[in-house]
């Protein structure tokens, strides 16, 4: 078994070999290397054809029309283009935007920028399971609200938002609805028409495609217009200029095609692996799942191991590639803002790990991980004064800690 074992599929995924093959066909002199904007020769036509096939593959996975797909460099760019693009184009209608406290930084920081420009942003709070309720969205929409931007699946806790219900509300109230689907495409069924989504961001690298390529779905009916962020040759209906990266796009198309064909079977397999992992951990004392246990994507397990600090846990788990909800590794000592928004106290947030399971995870990997995690938690609890106090029946909340 290769070590460390990869349990961080929510961060990124390796490219599927079928995708890599398609991509490598678009690089060399004898391959499909042309500029799709070249109208005067075969090289350009062939590149354009490959891109249009990929555009259809990307559209098919989300129930869109290919003409509604804009190629971008990834979900971060798509989020920026959607949020700033709508805000700038429609600011005469109103300057209020609704999003949530648990969005990805690409959404939050785009909103912060708009606040600096004079827009007003409401950041909705999730409930303790990490769910943003459609009712709260409905109550928050005002006369001057122009955009609701919410993620379909949260990157840290994997919780699924009821996008269909929120789309219904936004459409009825004539507010644009943007969905960051970076963590949900290829894992959860999406139909942009049925769900009444106006804009949707997605990328390739979370579902076994290459990094550096994404899409923004921009609805044609009803028509949604955007102010471009990137100006140039007027590519992509003028919404995003720049020569199209054929190999990246073809790779994304193939990744999306595979996802559409295989996601249901793959979800069953991944769900079983996650259950196996949780079954192997859940009998330990003071171990909790963060976020709704049911309303979440199959591959995500976010767990707090109370009285154990996340960074030291990761250090013990050097045979596993996992992600921590503790931001101790950065200069700030702030734990995950997502877990804090669920109402977790700082120590529970500091004690969390995110395991994300994917296409190449095996039962053997999971069993190996269970053994390593149990040993590490036991070792660190032996070292933990908080565990001692818990075992002695001391209420940690009764102690006056000296914050530092």
């Amino acid at each position: 078994m290769n070590s460390p074992i990869y349990f961080d599929y929510a961060a990124t995924t390796p490219v599927d070999p079928r995708v890599a093959q398609k991509m490598s066909d678009c690089l060399l002199a004898e391959g499909n290397f042309g500029n799709s904007a070249s109208r005067s020769h075969k090289f350009g036509w062939e590149a354009e054809e490959a891109i249009e096939i990929a555009r259809r593959q990307a559209a098919d996975l989300i129930g869109a029309d290919p003409r509604e797909i804009v190629w971008t460099s990834g979900a971060t760019e798509s989020d920026n283009l959607a949020i700033k693009g709508i805000a700038h184009f429609y600011q005469s209608r109103g300057k209020h935007i609704i999003t949530s406290k648990i969005e990805h930084k690409a959404v939050l920081d785009s909103c912060r920028q708009l606040e600096r420009e004079g827009f007003e942003v409401t950041y909705l709070e999730p409930d303790s399971a990490g769910i943003i309720s459609p009712e709260v969205v409905s109550e928050t929409i005002r006369e001057d609200t122009i955009l609701v931007s919410l993620m379909h699946v949260n990157n840290e806790i994997g919780v699924i938002t009821d996008i269909g219900a929120i789309g219904e509300i936004c459409r009825a109230k004539k507010v644009f609805f943007h969905v960051d689907a970076a963590q949900s495409v290829g894992k959860v069924d999406i139909d942009v028409t049925a769900m009444k989504i106006d804009l949707l961001s997605a990328c390739a690298h979370k579902i076994y495609g290459p990094k550096g390529i994404g899409i923004l779905y921009v609805s044609r009916k009803p028509r949604v217009r955007l102010e471009a962020q990137m100006h140039g040759g007027g590519h992509e209906r003028g919404m995003r200029s720049g020569t199209l990266a054929t190999h990246q796009i073809v790779g994304m198309g193939e990744a999306f095609r595979i996802a559409k064909a295989e996601m249901h079977a793959e979800n069953i397999r991944i769900m079983a692996l996650k259950q196996r992992l949780w079954d192997g951990l859940s009998d330990m004392e003071e171990v909790f799942i963060n976020g709704s246990p049911d309303q979440r994507v199959p591959g995500n397990l976010n767990v707090s191991f109370n009285f154990v600090e996340g960074e030291s846990l990761i250090m013990s788990l050097n045979d596993l590639a996992v992600s921590s909800g503790s931001a101790c590794t950065s200069a700030s000592l702030e734990p995950s803002y997502v877990l804090r928004a669920l109402g977790l106290n700082d120590e529970m947030a500091h004690s969390s790990l995110r395991f994300s399971i994917g296409r190449f995870t095996t039962e053997e990997n999971v069993d190996f991980a269970i053994g390593k995690i149990r040993a590490a938690v036991e070792k660190l609890r032996e070292l933990s004064p908080l565990w001692d106090m818990y075992k002695d029946g001391v209420d940690l909340n009764s102690i006056e800690w000296a914050a530092h």
Partner: protein, 127 residues
Amino acid sequence: MAYSDKVLDHYENPRNVGKMDAEDDTVGTGMVGAPACGDVMRLQIKVGDDGVIQDAKFKTYGCGSAIASSSLLTEWVKGRTLDEAASIKNTEIAEELALPPVKIHCSVLAEDAIKAAVKDFREKHSA
């Protein structure tokens, strides 16, 4: 982030892990940090009649650097007088463990822990 070999060594093989009876007159206990900040250190010293630290134990909730800082400290204070122990500087710990700038606070916490343990012991004996 890469850890220094010394941090890894203390983390893999922490020295003097344990707990002493905090009520014992010969024991001084220092507990510093806060769970909310991601680190709590408990350092205990056992002091002989001659004022020399005979034994030291620790438990730490925190990152690898915090665990290593407290583990190292328990090694250093043994055989030292209370004054000597209380004069250990965080910079010495940080230097010994080659802590990066973002982890300096771990060594500060260790310095606070030994000072708190010495203070606790002295308070027990001042009455």
